[in-house]
Symmetry: C2
Subunit: 167 residues, 2 copies
């Protein structure tokens, strides 16, 4: 049985006991979280969020890519969020790799170069990386200046968030 | 008190009772999920996933953008996932909007045009949209052909996943 089939079976149990009722498409707590895709972090648990509370945007690293910014624009302008939170974490896969090495390894392994993605956003300084993502979000012309953008580092060994002061 | 401060307070409780121990950076169930950022969907609940099980990649719509594909490449090539799952859902914010209207609305409201994002990926046919994302992932030169890429629609009123047959 593939993992997808196992997850489908779990979903049958979930749907049988489904009791969320009618929740709005607009997040109740008016907040969007941009974070890493890391499997160890269930941000709903770590942050005390419930279904309907917050948008969860996740990618490799928790990077404010053009796509993450697209999601934040949709989140605020269409769905009324008014605060953004960015979370990177210790022991991230992108802390263990170098951009150029990764690209040559992929080209060699797959036998084909690829134009996109142009960047993997590997990094080596966690707090500086968080600050860079905050800056990218804040400086986008379609992100209103009144929206607070706060940044954090999550420690996977302790479950604790530490705030990173903005630049 | 801002929502970010409330979430930080919740995180203090979470960290006080933290008991996940040492989990690997490599997802235990070797699966990556690409899904929408929608606040109503806690995919860990819906799919029976536990901390450490799966990568969670999320953006507005659950779209296989270049950035989502970047995350899937990192997921497979660096962190050993071997199955990908794509989930879109009913009542999605991007089903309620038109691409060109959204762009003119943003330029007018913010008083500044922006080069990026070039697309918002609004859509009007849910199943066709899922199929398109599956196709984008499968056709990328750095996604190995042996990786199963399965697509689903999640119904926010029932909690049920329905599989979309691939193209």
């Amino acid at each position: 049985m593939s993992v997808a089939d196992e997850l489908l079976k779990s979903n049958e149990d979930f749907a049988r006991n489904f009791s969320l009722g009618e929740l709005s498409v607009r997040p109740k707590r008016h907040v969007a979280v941009l974070a890493c895709m890391d499997s160890r972090i269930l941000f709903e648990h770590c942050l005390g969020l419930h279904p309907g509370d917050a948008h969860m945007i996740r990618n490799a690293g928790g990077i404010a890519t053009t796509d993450a910014i697209r999601s934040l624009i949709v989140s605020h302008h269409l769905l009324d969020t008014e605060e953004f939170i960015i979370i990177n974490h210790t022991d991230c896969g992108l802390l263990k790799v170098r951009e150029d090495e990764l690209k040559s390894r992929l080209t060699e392994k797959m036998g084909t170069p690829a134009d996109e993605p142009r960047h993997f956003y590997a990094f080596d300084d966690l707090e500086a990386n968080v600050r860079q993502q905050m800056q990218r979000v804040k400086s986008h012309p379609w992100i209103p200046k009144h929206i607070p953008v706060r940044g954090f580092v999550y420690d996977v060994r302790t479950g604790k968030l530490k705030e990173v002061e903005g630049s």
